[in-house]
């Protein structure tokens, strides 16, 4: 996803020296471009590219205002931030906020919930799109295929509020299923409010919402597997399952590793809105995750610095995890998400 090296290399060059570049010789052209670019002075390039530079301005302003300055704002994690004093005048307290966090039982509850949910998602959510993609890929009728794809992609575009509302209408205390149960004389089952089964519920919600959409990437890589491999295997007498085991799954290996890395790097973000919305119904004991902890401790409770400390810790650990996972992927001989060449 982030790896742009290969694109970069194929990127057509700007006409630095249109005349001197022999047509149809990309390899030589690339070299020529490099040396030509090296020769051109900054001023010439500035003059040539100034409209392009102007185009970067809106995006850069955005990145500055809503990404890079807020990142610097994380310094309040090392302060005793008081809104009326501002960042410049608040007291510096070193690592005190992190120490407080360490001794805050709620933080550990949030961390535990996050990891538990991540594990559930990894076990229950991760394989579903792969299975779906294999089924859809085996569909021969383009019509059924299209219809099915249109339907399973749809929930991805519904907001979490809507998804929770729909789940409530079906599984909630006054929802369809419990209504039927009551009419049959059976007791209602608290699907939506039971803290013990909440991880399962949350994972089911996630599967319902996003499993179809997550399938799209597997479908793309299934389509890129060379069909003649299947043909050759079938001619040699390989059946359906052997073909899947020896051709399809190896063909998907890279993408599976890539998605696993992304998932592991993101293990501390299991979702936010989903848990915020169900915070009241299930209670913080089961539904508090790191992100909601940050929100409730920081914005709602006024512990700005402590919330920022939790957020910062999460972000840093997440970045370390993703680098580590990427390294493991390189060891396994997979391309991973980014390589050293991009930097």
């Amino acid at each position: 996803m982030i790896s742009t090296t290969s694109e970069e290399r194929q990127a057509p060059s700007r006409p630095y020296c249109v005349a001197s570049r022999p047509p149809g010789k990309p390899l030589g052209a690339r070299k020529a471009r490099k040396s030509a670019a090296g020769r051109q002075s900054l001023r010439v390039r500035w003059k040539r590219d100034r409209q392009m530079l102007l185009m970067m301005v809106p995006g850069l302003v955005f990145l500055l205002l809503f990404f890079y300055i807020p990142i610097l704002g994380n310094v309040i994690a090392f302060q005793d931030y008081q809104p009326f004093l501002g960042i410049l005048n608040s007291d510096w307290v070193g690592l005190q906020n992190f120490v407080d966090l360490y001794f805050d039982p709620d933080f550990w509850v949030a961390l535990r919930n996050t990891l538990v949910l991540a594990l559930w998602q990894l076990v229950l959510f991760f394989p579903v799109p792969l299975g779906l993609a294999l089924i859809v890929d085996s569909l021969m009728s383009t019509k059924i295929r299209r219809w099915f794809q249109s339907i399973v992609y749809l929930p991805h575009f519904l907001s979490w509020v809507l998804v929770i509302a729909l789940f409530q209408q079906v599984l909630g205390g006054a929802g369809l299923v419990n209504n039927e149960l009551r009419q049959l004389g059976l007791g209602a089952i608290p699907f939506m409010t039971n803290p013990d089964t909440f991880p399962l519920l949350a994972t089911v919600q996630l599967v319902w919402k996003d499993a179809g959409w997550a399938m799209i990437i597997f479908l793309a890589s299934l389509a890129s597997i060379d069909g003649s491999l299947y043909e050759a295997a079938a001619t040699d007498g390989a059946g359906r399952w052997r073909r899947m085991w020896h051709i399809t799954l190896p063909g998907l290996r890279s993408i599976i590793v890539l998605l696993l890395i992304l998932r592991i790097g993101d293990i501390l973000s299991v979702g936010f809105e989903q848990f915020l919305l169900q915070h009241d119904a299930v209670g913080p004991g089961a539904s508090e995750v790191l992100d909601t902890f940050t929100y409730f401790a920081g914005v709602v409770g006024g512990g700005w610095s402590m919330g920022a400390a939790a957020g910062l810790a999460k972000g840093v650990v997440g970045a370390i995890l993703i680098f580590a996972a990427n390294k493991v992927a390189h060891r396994m001989g997979e391309p991973g998400i980014f390589s050293k060449k991009v930097g």
Binding site: M1, I2, P12, R14, L42, R45, R48, M52, L53, M55, M56, G59, L60, L63, F66, F67, I69, P70, I71, L72, G73, N74, I76, M140, S141, I144, F148, Q149, S150, I151, F157, S159, W160, V161, A165, L166, F167, Q169, N179, G212, I217, A220, Y230, E231, A234, R240, E273, D280, D291, T294, Y295, G298, V299, W304, G307, A308, G311, G315, G318, V342
Partner: protein, 332 residues
């Protein structure tokens, strides 16, 4: 699929059995082709054996259940919002098909200005946000799609946003610092650039034949003109997809509103949905109506109001999925 094909065979009067009797002498490939020729399907490669009935059944059941699990809740909500009181009471609160459809719950939720205002807020945020987002994303993606001065470091600045997030509290403080709290800009500005959409857009621009751009340059066109007159007309598909992605994102955003907006008159639809459906707040009180229809059907009506724009836009969005606009970028 084979199910279709069998039906077709049956209507032709071709017996579905007795396939490969003459295939014995001829070579294997031919017999396979013959066999697949019987349950004719142009998409099935010659080497692929038709699935066994059992496997077909299992597949059909799985696909059917998944489809039902998605369609049923939506149908339930739409039907219940349209059902009249009598049927609702009889059915115990939920109906799957309204026998006497009525719009009374919609009339109720739209009786005050409350719901109109929420819809207006969502519409304005979505429209303005999408336009701005497209502007920022297109210019940034085009400017980094070719090797220009500072192109590389700027690209890295963007890609870094995929790895790390500034965090909720610094973002809140920034929005507050900019004086955007309690304004619609707080719902718009933080969302007008997404690195993922940028990557999609940029990789599309990079695949545009460079000769077109070069010839325009030789003719004396500047970069703005090239972007507007040559690149954008070629990129309608990707602009549509990215625009729709942004629009859906703005429409669906709820947490930003919860965080930045206190003023009830500036609540977007999603926040109304959360306050009065998910949290079950007193909707009739808010609307100030005395004889309200059952709360359930009013809640459903709000759900439908939030859902409808997505359903309307979805076919346009969906049209592009199979063209590989998105997946192409992911693979790159």
């Amino acid at each position: 699929m084979a199910i279709n094909a069998q039906v077709r065979n049956a209507s032709d009067g071709t017996p579905p059995s007795g396939k490969p009797s003459q295939g014995k002498q001829s070579n294997r490939k031919l017999s396979q082709r013959k066999r697949s020729g019987l349950t004719f399907n142009p998409n099935r490669p010659a080497w692929k054996e038709p699935a066994s009935p059992l496997y077909q059944c299992i597949k059909g059941v799985i696909l059917g259940l998944i489809t039902l699990s998605i369609v049923l809740p939506i149908l339930l909500v739409v039907s219940t919002s349209l059902a009249d009181d009598q049927q609702l009471v009889q059915a115990g609160g939920y109906v799957l098909w309204p026998t006497h459809p009525t719009l009374q719950s919609y009339e109720a939720i739209f009786s005050g200005s409350f719901m109109f205002r929420a819809l207006g807020v969502s519409a304005v945020v979505t429209a303005v946000g999408t336009l701005l987002a497209l502007f920022v994303t297109i210019t940034m993606a085009y400017a980094t799609s070719r090797p220009v001065l500072f192109g590389r470091p700027v690209l890295l600045l963007v890609l870094f946003t995929l790895l790390f997030a500034p965090g909720l509290i610094p973002m809140f403080l920034m929005v507050k610092q900019l004086g955007l709290l309690n304004t619609l800009w707080s719902l718009i500005l933080p969302g007008i650039f997404g690195a993922f959409n940028f990557v999609v857009m940029r990789s599309f621009f990079m695949n545009i034949p460079q000769e077109l751009v070069e010839s325009a340059r030789i003719d004396g066109a500047g970069d703005f003109k090239i972007l507007w007159k040559i690149v954008l007309p070629l990129s309608k598909a990707v602009v549509a997809v990215v625009g729709l992605f942004y629009a859906v994102g703005f429409w669906n955003a709820f947490f930003n509103a919860m965080l930045y907006i206190n003023d009830q008159t500036k609540f977007p639809v999603q926040l109304v949905l959360r306050n009065y459906v998910v949290q079950g707040g007193g909707l009739a009180d808010q609307l100030g109506i005395a004889s309200a229809p059952p709360p359930q059907s009013m809640q459903m009506a709000i759900v439908v109001v939030a859902l409808l724009p997505i359903l309307l836009v979805y076919p346009f969005l969906q049209k592009h999925f199979n063209k590989g606009v998105i997946t192409g970028a992911i693979k790159g």
